[in-house]
Amino acid sequence: MMVMAVVIVLLVVLTVGGGIARRVLRRRRWVRRLERAEKGVAAAVADGRIASLTGEALLQHLEGLRRVAGGGEV
């Protein structure tokens, strides 16, 4: 009986923990993707591939979203 209870608790902990870990990893992936996009935009503005106004607008959106993705706000 005791063993069964321990197994159930363990399974619950693993399931919940796994869910949280997946969520954290997914958010990290999103943050990294946004960071890469920001770097790409900054480089494109610097060498004139993107107009500076467009670059500024994009960077503002990307940075805002990265903060949301990194800060846990949905």
């Binding site: 480089a43 107009a51 959106h61």
Partner: protein
Amino acid sequence: MRIGVDIGRVVRGRGGVSSYTRELIRALAGEDVAHEIVLFDLDGSTPRRRRLEDEVGPLPPRISSASASKTELENLDLFHAPAFAMPPAGARRHIFTVHDLTVLSHPECHTLGNRVRTLASVAEALVGGATMIAVSEATRREALRLLALPAEDIEVLPPILSPIFAAYGDGEVDERVARSRGIGGSYVLAVASLEPRKNIGRLLEAWDLLPEALQQKHQLVVVAADGWLQNEVRRRLDAMSREHSVVRVRHLPAGDLAALYRRARVFVFPSLAEGFGLPVAEAMACGAPVVTSNTSSLPEVAEGAAVLVDPEDPDEIATAITAVLEDQALRQGLRDRGFERARSFTRDEILPRLLAIYQRVAGGCP
């Protein structure tokens, strides 16, 4: 010219982007197009030809599929990204279709993942020097406003409407389709996925505001696959579906959907914001009188062939539905104007414009 197209959304998923891509491939497969087309699935393996032919019909030998490897992609004169995803390596030139920018204008209507994927892809497209195609003038204006794009960097080209959405059909078959879904006589039709932007919650409120007699005389048929952030609306819709006057259909093949459009007394599409609004064009092509929103691209797509309402006002939606249900002359007028308007989105109208853009962007490749 050797043109690559990402068809991942045709292989997986439904909705407007999937329809857009499917019709793009179908159009490019026509005998009047000579370009070599290579189909890629950017998120998967090499697309299987038979699977694609099930979706879009027979493909000529000049259309092939390949894995999205660097070598294959660099061998292209042009890559068309129709589904908010850019390839990892470069063709010589890129075209990127902007279906909408509601992840920026209506972020509350999207999941965080959706916002990240869409915005990052738009940024990657601009960094890669892609030519942007907006599916409507309204979307182009949004791109100019939200991304400060130079006006000359974005073109407008509407989607191609599937020929399956046509006013002619076999009445008996259409009736059988309706009956098989629990639809009896006259009905008001709505088609949308269950996501906040589609505003199905307010449509249900509007339905409740309709006079009792109309609710008894007509059904409300909602063709709505599950989307996101809409648990409450989904529960409400499912609860209302247990009553006689509301029917929910989760998914329909395009042919069956066309049958429901043809038999609808009114088609209602009260979306809060659209990049184009394909269901409005589909309904018009099938001869359904349309009630839709007075926002974003919808007045442009309807162009006088629909009753326009404030999508945030259930009273106004209910009043418009009532007017169209009860006024035969109004329905006929909407139907006639809708047919005319839907012709603007046929393959014959759109394809030459698309090929001209391909030619110009590829810099005169034969």
